[in-house]
C-alpha cells in the first residue's frame, strides 16, 4: 500500500524526508501568495525547505486570491 499525504484534499504519494517545498513542487504550486499549514500548524515561508511533512499529514496550501 502506498504511503500518502493529503494536499488540499488531493491524495499524493509521500516519501521519507519529504519537505514542504517538495510537496509544493509535486503539486506544481508556483503561486507566491501561499499560506501553508501542515496538520493545522502554520509553516512560515522561510521554513518550507527544512520542514518535514510526516506520513499521513494533511497539508493545506492556501492560494490567496489575486487576479484583476
Amino acid at each position: 500500500m502506498n504511503r500518502t499525504i493529503t494536499v488540499n484534499g488531493n491524495i499524493i504519494e509521500w516519501h521519507e524526508g519529504m519537505t514542504v517545498t517538495d510537496v509544493l513542487a509535486v503539486m506544481k504550486y508556483t503561486f507566491k501568495l501561499l499560506v501553508v499549514h501542515v496538520n493545522e500548524n502554520n509553516i512560515k515561508r522561510d521554513e518550507w525547505p527544512e520542514t518535514l511533512v510526516p506520513e499521513g499529514a494533511e497539508v493545506k496550501a492556501i492560494h490567496l486570491m489575486s487576479g484583476g
Binding site: 488540499n8 504550486y29 501568495l33 492556501i62 492560494h63 490567496l64 486570491m65 489575486s66 484583476g68
Partner: protein, 720 residues
C-alpha cells in the same frame, strides 16, 4: 495645425458659472448635469438619502441613471446618460489606490446597466472642482468638448472641430491647450474615446493623467461594455477637468491622522513584501501570465485550453518586465500617493502597422487581461504584437478585453468554416495570425470591412452569422464567450464552478471584478459544498462592490498582504486591510460603520442594480446562463487534451465508468453533470442573496437591507 490654431476654431456654445464650494468629509453634496441636446447645465443637490442608500461612485451613477431614464430607453436614445462619480474616499492621497471613478450607462452591448471603473485624474479633479458626479445626457449636433474649469468655476461646452479623435493625440493636444505652462500640465485631466468607438459597440473611455517625469500624457481605461460608444454617439470629443493643484486634505476628512497611519502601514507592507509577492511595482498585473498558465487558467485559443507550455516563455511576465521602463518603478501610480505603483508603461515603442506606423509611442500596460486576451487567447504568443494591439485599442477607444475575446471567437469560427476568406473580406483569421488581427482592429477604426461586423461583439456576431446561414447557432452559442452580451474577461472557468457563478451571475456581465474565486474553489478546495460556494459568491461580490462606491482601487487590498496575514482565520479576505478600509471610510466621512455595515452598503447598491436590470427586462435567472465553453469541454479536441483528467472526474464524481466509451458519449455525460451543477449553484446563491429562485430580490430581503424604496418595490412586487 498648432494647438493655438485649433483653439481658435472652437465655438463657445454655453458657459455656466457656479459658486465655489467646499468638500466636507468627502462630499460636495451636489452633482453636475449637462444636457447636450439643449445645452443646459445645472447642479443637483445630493440628498442624505442618496448618501445613506447609494454612498457614492457606482451607487450615485445607478441612482442618477435610474431617475434619468425609462425602462424602454435604449443606449443611443438622447436620454441615456453617462454618469461619472468618484465616491467619498476618492482623492485622498494618504492611502494607496484612492483615485478611482466609476462610469455608468446603458450599454450598447448588453442593453442593460454597465459599470466600469477607471483610474486617472478626471474623477478626483471633478470632485475638487465641486461635484460628486457628472451626468452627460442628450446629444450634441457636432463634436464638442466640455470643460470643467476649477480656476474660474465655470463649465463650458465648446464646438471643437479641429482636434484629433484618437486618444493618444487628443489627450496631449488638450493638455497643452488648457495648461498655463508645462508645470501646470499635471492639473489637466482628459476623458476621450477614439475612432473605433465611432464604428463599434465596444468603445471605451480613456482617462488621462500627466506624467511629469516622461512629460507625456498617460491613459487609463474605463473599458467594459461600450461606454465609449455612447460617448461618441453623444458627439462628445472630450471632457476636460482643469484642477488647481492637489493638496493633502482637499476632502476635508474627519480624521486625517487615522488615514495617514493606515497609509504608512500599507506603504511599509508594499516595500517589504511586493518583491516576493506579486511584483506589482515591476510587472503590474502582467505578473499573472505564467502563473495562470501553470494552473491551466490562461485562456488559449478562445478558452479551449488553459495553457501552452511550449509558448508561454514568449509572453512570460519577465518579458514584459524587460519591456516596461523601470526607471520610475516606485512612482507609477495612476493617482497621487499610490505606493503599489502598478501603472507600468513601455516607452518609445515603435509601431509596425496602422496610421501611426513607424512612430515611437508610449503604451500604458499591457495589463494581464490585455496580454491574455489579445495574445494567448488568439493563439498569438508575441509580446510586441500584444503591446501594439494594446496601443491601438487604447488610442482607437475600444476595450482590449472585448477585442481579445471577440477576435478569439472569430478565429475559432474561421477554423471551423463558419467564416472564410470570402466572408471576412480577405482576412485569414486563423489562430495565431497577428497581421490579420491587427488589420481587423484597423478596420474597426476606419469603419470598414469585416471590422464593422466584428465590432458588434460576440453576441451580435452570433446573430449575424446565424442569419446569414454561415454556422450552427448552437455551436456558436457554446463557443461564443459572452454572457448578457458582454465578452468574458481572461480566465478559464471550466474547472471552478464558483468562478462560473462569479462570471455569469454578475450584474453587468462576465467581468472578474465581482469575484475571483478560482484558487479558493479549484486549487484550495476551501469551498466544496454549494452552500460554501454560495457564501463566497455573496461575500466577495459585495466586498468588491464596495471599492466602486468609495473611489478605491481593489489591487492594494489583495495584491499585497501583511506578513501576519497567514496567521489569520480567513487570510483570503485579508482582514487587516478590511479593517483599514473601515477605519478610512469612517475617518473620511465621520460615520461609524463596521465591517458588517461595509457589506450592507454594497448589498443595497448591488440589489438596486439587479432590480434596475429587472426594470429593463433583464436580471432574471435566464440571464445568468453561461456558454458551455465556460463550464466544460465543447469539442473533442478540448476533451482529449485532458482526457485522463476528465475520465477520472467521470468515474469519481459522476459515477460513470468511462472505459470503452466513445469521446462523444463521455462528453455528453460530462455536460449533463456540469450543467446540472451550475443550476444547483444558482439555487444556492439566490437563496444566500435573498432572491427568489428566478433571481429576483425578495421584498423582505430588500426591507432587511434597507433598499425598500417604493420605486424598487414596485418593480419586484409582481415577480415575488
Amino acid at each position: 495645425m498648432s494647438v493655438a490654431e485649433m483653439k481658435s476654431k472652437h465655438k463657445t456654445i454655453k458657459v455656466w458659472n457656479y459658486k465655489a464650494g467646499e468638500i466636507m468629509r468627502g462630499y460636495n453634496n451636489r452633482t453636475l448635469h449637462i444636457d447636450l441636446t439643449d445645452n443646459l447645465i445645472s447642479e443637483k443637490p445630493v440628498t442624505q438619502l442618496m448618501k445613506d442608500k447609494f454612498v457614492g461612485g457606482k451607487g450615485f451613477g445607478l441612482k442618477l441613471l435610474w431617475d434619468a431614464t425609462k425602462p424602454q430607453t435604449k443606449w443611443n436614445d438622447p436620454e441615456n446618460e453617462i454618469v461619472i462619480s468618484p465616491g467619498p474616499c476618492a482623492g485622498i492621497t494618504q492611502y494607496s489606490g484612492a483615485g478611482k471613478s466609476l462610469v455608468v450607462s446603458i450599454s450598447p452591448q448588453t442593453d442593460s446597466i454597465m459599470d466600469s471603473n477607471v483610474g486617472g485624474y478626471f474623477g478626483p479633479y471633478m470632485k475638487f472642482n465641486g461635484f460628486d458626479a457628472i451626468e452627460l445626457q442628450g446629444k450634441a449636433k457636432s463634436d464638442v468638448i466640455i470643460i470643467l474649469d476649477g480656476r474660474t468655476h465655470t463649465v463650458t461646452i465648446e464646438e471643437a472641430p479641429a482636434e484629433a479623435i484618437d486618444s493618444h493625440i487628443l489627450a496631449e493636444q488638450l493638455t497643452e491647450m488648457y495648461a498655463l505652462d508645462d508645470k501646470d500640465k499635471i492639473n489637466i485631466a482628459v476623458v476621450s474615446a477614439g475612432k473605433a468607438a465611432d464604428h463599434t459597440l465596444i468603445g471605451m473611455l480613456n482617462f488621462s493623467f500627466y506624467d511629469p517625469r516622461r512629460k507625456l500624457c498617460r491613459l487609463k481605461q474605463a473599458g467594459r461594455g461600450g461606454i465609449g460608444t455612447v460617448f461618441r454617439d453623444k458627439k462628445i470629443k472630450a471632457l476636460v477637468a482643469i484642477g488647481t493643484g492637489v493638496k493633502g486634505n482637499l476632502n476635508n476628512v474627519a480624521d486625517l491622522k487615522a488615514i495617514s497611519e493606515r497609509g504608512q502601514r500599507l506603504i511599509k507592507e508594499i516595500k517589504a513584501g511586493d518583491e516576493t509577492q506579486c511584483e506589482m511595482r515591476t510587472k503590474g498585473t502582467a505578473h499573472l501570465m505564467e502563473i495562470m498558465n501553470n494552473y491551466d487558467l490562461l485562456p488559449t485559443k478562445n478558452f479551449q485550453f488553459g495553457r501552452d507550455d511550449s509558448q508561454i516563455a514568449k509572453i512570460h511576465s519577465e518579458v514584459f518586465k524587460s519591456k516596461f521602463t523601470q526607471t520610475w518603478k516606485d512612482l507609477e501610480g495612476c493617482w497621487f500617493g499610490c505606493a503599489l505603483s502598478c501603472a507600468k508603461a513601455v516607452d518609445k515603442f515603435e509601431l509596425r502597422t496602422g496610421p501611426y506606423k513607424g512612430e515611437k509611442v508610449i503604451v500604458d500596460g499591457p495589463e494581464y487581461e490585455t496580454a491574455a486576451g489579445v495574445g494567448s487567447n488568439c493563439g498569438i504568443f508575441d509580446a510586441d504584437h500584444i503591446i501594439e494591439v494594446n496601443f491601438y485599442c487604447d488610442t482607437y477607444g475600444i476595450c482590449t478585453i472585448s477585442f481579445g475575446t471577440l477576435t478569439a471567437f472569430v478565429m475559432e469560427c474561421y477554423e471551423n468554416g463558419i467564416l472564410n476568406k470570402e466572408r471576412t473580406g480577405g482576412l485569414e483569421l486563423n489562430f495565431g495570425n497577428r497581421d490579420a488581427a491587427l488589420e481587423l482592429l484597423h478596420q474597426m477604426a476606419r469603419g470598414e470591412g469585416f471590422g464593422l461586423i466584428a465590432g458588434h461583439g460576440v453576441r451580435g456576431m452570433k446573430k449575424i452569422f446565424a442569419e446569414k446561414g454561415w454556422g450552427d447557432i448552437n455551436f456558436m452559442n457554446d463557443i461564443g464567450m459572452e454572457n448578457k452580451g458582454l465578452e468574458y474577461s481572461q480566465y478559464v472557468s471550466k474547472e471552478s464552478l464558483a468562478q462560473q457563478g462569479g462570471y455569469a451571475m454578475t450584474n453587468k456581465g462576465p467581468q472578474h471584478d465581482e469575484a475571483w474565486l478560482i484558487f479558493m474553489d479549484m486549487v484550495n478546495n476551501q469551498i466544496p459544498t454549494f452552500e460554501n460556494k454560495a457564501e463566497a459568491l455573496h461575500y466577495f461580490p459585495m466586498f468588491r462592490t464596495w471599492f466602486g462606491l468609495q473611489g478605491f482601487c481593489k489591487l492594494p487590498w489583495n495584491d499585497i498582504e501583511p506578513e501576519n496575514n497567514r496567521q489569520t482565520a480567513e487570510p483570503a479576505k485579508v482582514p487587516e486591510h478590511v479593517e483599514s478600509y473601515v477605519i478610512i471610510y469612517n475617518a473620511v466621512t465621520g460615520n461609524n460603520i463596521d465591517k458588517k455595515e461595509l457589506i450592507r452598503q454594497s448589498e443595497r447598491v448591488y440589489n438596486f442594480q439587479r432590480v434596475f436590470n429587472i426594470r429593463r427586462g433583464y436580471g432574471l435567472r435566464k440571464h445568468d446562463a453561461q456558454p458551455y465553453r465556460a463550464c466544460g469541454p465543447v469539442t473533442k479536441e478540448e476533451y482529449l487534451s485532458r482526457e485522463a483528467f476528465y475520465d477520472k472526474q467521470l468515474k469519481e464524481l459522476v459515477n460513470f465508468d468511462p472505459a470503452g466509451k466513445s469521446t462523444e458519449e463521455k462528453m455528453s455525460v460530462m455536460r449533463k453533470y456540469r450543467e446540472n451543477r451550475y443550476e444547483q449553484l444558482l439555487d444556492a446563491v439566490y437563496k444566500r442573496r435573498g432572491w427568489t429562485s428566478n433571481g429576483v430580490p425578495k421584498i423582505e430581503h430588500l426591507k432587511e437591507i434597507g433598499m425598500d424604496l417604493p420605486e424598487v418595490i414596485e418593480v419586484v412586487k409582481p415577480l415575488q
